[in-house]
Symmetry: C2
Subunit: 683 residues, 2 copies
Amino acid sequence: MNIQDLSFIEDLPSGELDFYRKQATFHWKKLKLVFEDPERIKTKLRVWKALKNDQAFQTYDCEFTLEQQRRLAALQLSTFRKHKFLPDNIQTAPLEDWLRHFMTVGQALLIVSSDAIVKIVVDLILAQMSVILLGNESHKEFAEAAWKSLKPSAFALTEVAHGSDTKNMKTTATYDESTEEFVLNTPNFLAAKCWLGNLSASCTMAVVFAQLHTKGLCYGLHAFMVPIRDPKTHVPYPGLTIKDCGKKVGLNGVDNGVLMFHNYRIPRSYLLNKYANVTSQGEYLTNMSSPGRVFSSTIGNLSTGRASVIQESSEYLSYAVTIAVRYAAVRKQFGPDKETEIAIIEHQLHQWRVFPYLAAAAVLKVFATKITEKYITLLIESTKPNSTLESSKTEIHVVLSAAKPLTTWTCQDAIQQCREACGGHGFLEASGIGTLRNTNDVRVTYEGDNNILLQQTGRWLLKQWNGLKEGVPVDSPLNTCSFLNNHVVILIQKCSAKNIQDVQTYKFLEESYQWLITYLLQESDAKLMEMFEASGSLFTAFNDSQVYKTNVLSKVYIEYVVLTVYWLRIQEKNIDENVTRVLKTLGTLYGLWCLEKHLVYFYEGNFSAQCPLSKLIRDAILDLCKTLKRDAVSVVDALAFPDFVLNSVLGKSDGKVYEHLQAEFFKDPAKRSEVPEFIKSKL
Amino acid sequence: MNIQDLSFIEDLPSGELDFYRKQATFHWKKLKLVFEDPERIKTKLRVWKALKNDQAFQTYDCEFTLEQQRRLAALQLSTFRKHKFLPDNIQTAPLEDWLRHFMTVGQALLIVSSDAIVKIVVDLILAQMSVILLGNESHKEFAEAAWKSLKPSAFALTEVAHGSDTKNMKTTATYDESTEEFVLNTPNFLAAKCWLGNLSASCTMAVVFAQLHTKGLCYGLHAFMVPIRDPKTHVPYPGLTIKDCGKKVGLNGVDNGVLMFHNYRIPRSYLLNKYANVTSQGEYLTNMSSPGRVFSSTIGNLSTGRASVIQESSEYLSYAVTIAVRYAAVRKQFGPDKETEIAIIEHQLHQWRVFPYLAAAAVLKVFATKITEKYITLLIESTKPNSTLESSKTEIHVVLSAAKPLTTWTCQDAIQQCREACGGHGFLEASGIGTLRNTNDVRVTYEGDNNILLQQTGRWLLKQWNGLKEGVPVDSPLNTCSFLNNHVVILIQKCSAKNIQDVQTYKFLEESYQWLITYLLQESDAKLMEMFEASGSLFTAFNDSQVYKTNVLSKVYIEYVVLTVYWLRIQEKNIDENVTRVLKTLGTLYGLWCLEKHLVYFYEGNFSAQCPLSKLIRDAILDLCKTLKRDAVSVVDALAFPDFVLNSVLGKSDGKVYEHLQAEFFKDPAKRSEVPEFIKSKL
């Protein structure tokens, strides 16, 4: 693609960043096309153009009350929906026609309204998708009516006293033959459904998980479609207690709520019955081998939420590094003599603080895109009749369960580091970074606590290892750990790197990670066995072999998977060689920086017996930071959002940090307090 | 001290935490007396009793506007002052009579109003202390009038484009002989004084740092006392531009502002002239050897602010772990069988996430108290005539410069970990943790960027090392690094630990840290030399030897100093032996957990050649977590604030987490929006 073809991406304004932009070794627009294909960029630009001209999406300096924030988020959601970026008939249209598209337009909405995106993801990706994947035709009609009404639905899994341990939820749905209804009950406050987005003000419908009882037996957790409010009057139905969760650390535009049922009756047909059903006479029917299988198949269909979170945190990561890198290129402090001050991006320590997160942003963005594509493809395939993708579905689930912790944690760390790297000015709300920390924060614990999610990955890896011990090759159709078949040879390998050039290669990263994963798998398995012998309990043994072992194993595994996905992508043929070079620098920096955190294992396991590994890796990291310096601003340009979207006084593309700060500080204080009438009247 | 004597500390209510409280191996009140002596506890209880009954310090569920938040903080400050916890004549009363006392009553205010504490610290510890330490009698009168008026003063050092690099500030104060005045000017917006607490609404006076010019020469940065508003009308004087910084990520009750001078005239006598003066004819006079010395002596007197931050973050750390540990003891999730769920404090991974921060809270609390005492003693001594404490003052400055980064970072990490350890409920504003993250956050970058502060420590250590190379013993009157005199022997030592008992000792920690500091000092020095030879510039060489070297050296040094201070304290004779045992567990856990982060150096430098060091340390950490489990709740009881102060639905001392959550969720929504009239009328 030549420069002319890139004209749909607007040029950046001249300003304080020119000094570094001129030094770049590649064209930033060409890099942008590696991060996102032209169609996707165009779609997002179209969305942003629409939102930029819409009153609901402007930056208001005034203070909104909690109530007004809720209404503004609802207004943003309905405004977004009215732009018709998404079809009205999601329940009946083929999934492939709109799911990928949503991932793109949702990403565009994400940064403009962190509240509205949560509301729509809860609605579409959790509630509506549950109906699509677990329901039948009649359910779809009901759900589609909710969707068309623009009132977002809620998703009720978590309870006050139960989060990660989903199987132990206490809400009950007891079948009453006499009326052919399920009777929903919340035994006590501990079992109240909790933190439900869209619950306290917006929804007319919720997908609710409850223990299904019929004829005196409990069959475990099942999903039900539950009417919450009268669609005409928006008044909640009797038999429900609905409370608002109150103020949160962030995302206060989202109406999270608490929901309790008191003999609340719904028709039998509201059970989402793809895997199991109850007949009018109360017979429980399933083609699954056990109730446990029904539950895991039900829950297993919900990884789309996890894929969304990965994408969201990856975007936030780009957001944070954009601000920190641009600020570092403009902010000057200290210098070789009294008269000269140099930009803080020139300081090695500052590069080392920020650039690994820049590299992480690039790598995780490529990964998030690729893995979501893969996931969606598999999901759509699996909805077709006679699909035989069980192993692939399991493996992608394992990958997503570890990638969500990796991405959300990396993002949260990056935000904190970038905030500090902007000094006091980073504490200004208009810098955008502090608020982002509060916004991303929730992602670290929702969709499950990160450490618990990692256990799913760990379990699967240990299962593969057990197979290997019995001579069964690993079951890895996605090829994330096929190398384990070679475990005997891998474990006796030693690192042979001699200089930093040797370690600045994908080959080095691949070999090191393969050794590390194999080593940790062996160690984790040994620890598990040791603990099992000591305690006689698998539960205890599994818990007591997490720290330093299985927990790290899962993290290391996903870092490796991320790198392999990234490397496959950047080796595609159509990439400009200057761009490829910087992509390799970014990938190598990210890989070595991740690897450095695990250095001790290389010593412990003797992989480093023949080389000064820590010195090589650390020198290589500093060398890559130095290399990246001239390109950092342009990498950020390729990752960055348009100024309207970024909306940060420190991170604008013209680099005029101090002019924007001045404008911010000199704003009319009156505008900060009063909500303008034209928007107030809409709330 | 027997149990009767402990009755001034209230017993804790019975509830869900009893299960673990009954298992404790020591009496929590006795531990509390190690953290704080009885007089201090009584003082704080007295303050809290007063505030608890005061309308200004209640928890209001309603939303305040930015303007109302400012007024509430101002009201809290003046209310606090009216309780007369502090004398009216601080400028003339002896420093020793009230400075220690302030550190106690300030700590009590800290958690109740995070805004008011910032306002009073800026006033008293920065502005008023500058006058006390740098001014003469006539200044004191002026400053005391400001203090008595209850309008807190501002402190103007930082400029928009200059923070850490203080010497490069651009505000000028040019002496005009004809009127015997200094003329203050802000050359451009980049030189505007920025982020000044108390500036935009409260202060009548500010201490301002400006480049002193007289007779055409510039003598560097000096401090001036500058009137800002008419004390009678509170109207700002002409010649000043004052702007509000607007919304911040936290601390929105503090009126941070921007200040610019336009030919703003102040009398000659308003120069704080302890180290230098200008005669009426414009002659610059100083008894210092150079203007650089004037500046460093001026700034050197301001470490009290750093000591405050150390105390504050140490208290916040206690706050965070109190909530996370109590929640972990109540929250149940997963279990060995379908019916049984166990408290998450029982899970090894959860212990490992939270307990090291619990240990850090205990260790840093003891350290913060001791080091502040030492600092104040030295400060007061040094104000006496003919004081000869230069080396001690330098060394305490070096310690505080590294302790501030250690404490603020540890606290920020702890808050994030504790927030995650409380799952979704930790995201609730009423949990208190999220807001705390925003409150502590500012401390990571104020009083100087943490990494830059660490450089001051690094420089001093390198200077000691250079002395040693020339046969000069280290100059360490506070004994923080006298062991370096033994560097030749230390460097050839190898770790001889054989089992986890060997590493769970202070002796092991001491030997390991002494080796590590010496090794890193040698490495840092070698790197510095190497970079100097390569670049020919000391500036470049110093910058390029920070990462992995001098920067880590400074961190390791302060961890060691913290441990030595802690260990000295817990070996004092009057401590109950059961309490000593748990204090040793906490200290060892903290020490090993810190050491673990540096494990690679032990391999790199061959210290671990004769033992499986990583395995020993890690097994020892897990073993200590297990030991600590039965005592964790009681350790927290000894660290915790009364419920009114803690003000967290998740962390109350009765452990009734779900009851408090229910009460929170079931609050009348109307109360959340409307500001009650009785408080509104006071704002």
